[in-house]
């Protein structure tokens, strides 16, 4: 479940967003992407599950190798990549008209992973894995819109892990949430990394310091520095990194 990125470049139409990224992400760990707005951290993460392609006139070159296969190989369809490399978004986005159960089940249904009793078990497992089961166990049929923001985000996490991905990408998952919910999710991430490789984008350096094993610093589409989190924050090697961390910009 390690991810090996080689010579990754990405464009939005004529504008280049990522320049020659090379990075290896360790399995079953949390890797955080930090950097100022527009530095390409979100673009990078979206290239890991081929979501970047959904932008009109998007282009990607380079390779992203996961378990021995380059996900950008011509023979591989994006939909199967995304099934195994899941994503949680900044704004919680459950299907509002559907019940809590249905929301968690939908990925499993579409991919034919389970039915009937098995599906019920899968939903329960996923909700437990997202630390939401106890709060919703007796109202699984309630619409997802009845949940609070933090709960909805955990619902999205449950939905993502219900399809049993290998990697979980999280694009600023706590930006829209209040501090108590944020804390809950950060605790959750600490548990989740036992099973999944987690890549998290965050604009909050303290969050990176709290949850990530390794941290990557992006600036202007380039990967500036990557190191074990403690190292990066206490002894940054690059000047730009140090400037960002000490708040001189960004």
């Amino acid at each position: 479940m390690s991810i090996k990125v080689e010579n990754l470049n990405a464009w939005y139409g004529k504008k280049q967003g990522l320049y020659d990224i090379n990075l290896t992400i360790q399995p079953r760990s949390v890797t955080a992407m930090i950097g100022p707005s527009g530095c390409g951290k979100s673009t990078f993460v979206r290239c890991l599950n081929r979501m970047h392609e959904e932008v009109p006139n998007a282009r990607v070159t380079g390779t992203v190798e996961v378990e021995g296969a380059n996900i950008y190989d011509r023979s591989i369809r994006p939909m199967y990549v995304r099934r195994h490399i899941g994503m949680v978004f900044q704004q919680p986005n459950p299907l509002p008209s559907r019940s809590i159960f249905e929301n968690v089940a939908i990925g499993a249904r579409i991919n034919g992973l389970a039915q009937g009793a098995e599906l019920k078990e899968l939903v329960e497992r996923s909700l437990r894995g997202a630390a939401l089961w106890d709060e919703v166990r007796d109202r699984l049929d309630a619409p997802s819109s009845a949940l609070s923001g933090g709960q909805q985000q955990r619902l999205c996490i449950a939905r993502a892990i219900a399809v049993e991905p290998k990697v979980l990408l999280m694009d600023e998952p706590c930006s829209a949430l209040d501090p108590p919910s944020t804390l809950l999710i950060e605790e959750l991430i600490a548990h989740l990394k036992e099973r999944y490789t987690i890549v998290i984008v965050t604009h909050n350096m303290q969050q990176a310091a709290r949850v990530a094993d390794r941290t990557v610093f992006f600036l202007l589409g380039k990967l500036v520095e990557v190191a074990e989190t403690g190292q990066l924050f206490s002894h940054p090697q690059q000047k730009e990194t140090e400037d960002y961390i000490t708040g001189r910009f960004g």
Binding site: I71, R77, Y80, K166
Partner: protein, 292 residues
Amino acid sequence: MKTATHPFQPERGALHVRRQIASVLAVALTTLFAGAAIFFLGYLIFYVARQGVSALNLNFFTKSPAPEGESGGGVLPAIEGTLIIVGIAAAIGVPLGIGTGIYLSEFARGRLAEFVRFMVDMLTGIPTIIFGLLIWTLIVVPEHHFSGLAGGFALSIIMIPTVSRATEEVLRLVPKDLREGSVALGATESRTILRVVVPAAKSGIITGVLLAVARVGGETAPLLMTAFGTNFARVNINRPMDALPLRVFVSTLSPFAPDRSIAFAGAFVLMLLVLVTSFAVRWATGGFKPRS
């Protein structure tokens, strides 16, 4: 580099096939539907054009209809009638529409505004034959004769909602600074609205009026019971009057071949009117750019 053991492969078996089929089918069907709609429009335009263009000669525009079954006639009364009746309709409908639009944008608020807007919206939902019926009851029947004037009244009501909505929307877009500036210079409210705000929205209002005119110009049902139609080129608005849609209608019902050509020629003219107006309005509002 790929190996056979990577996880990014389709699932085995029926599900994969079903998902692929569903996806392909969805694309194929929706493309087919859209294609059919667009193809039909193109076909209709070309068919009517082809049938109609041959009858579009000088006679068509300058002569009155020929006696039963003879060729060489034209639709002069219809053209004159349409111009007059639509002119009357606009003279009534445009001020009323713009006035209502000004009211809704500048004066009204809260429940009253909602109510008026609702009423105006209701007007768009009423079938046009009903307006013909209304004016027939109110004017034609008591006066014991059809008239172009009655036709104008019927069409004017139909114009009101289109003009009103366009006016209201465009007036709302006029930036507040313009109004504030005028007030700061000491202008009265009516001056501000009439001399500053409305002229700023001029092109949008004209667009709305054009659309309304094109729409009522093609209406047949309201005129059936009010202007009724005639073969003669009188221009007395107090007498039955012809109009292009009415002439096409009558010609369609006729069994004679020359009338058939007249019908298509008239229909072609009507279609052209509508298409040109639609294009002009879209082009003027820059509507060919893709929406985000």
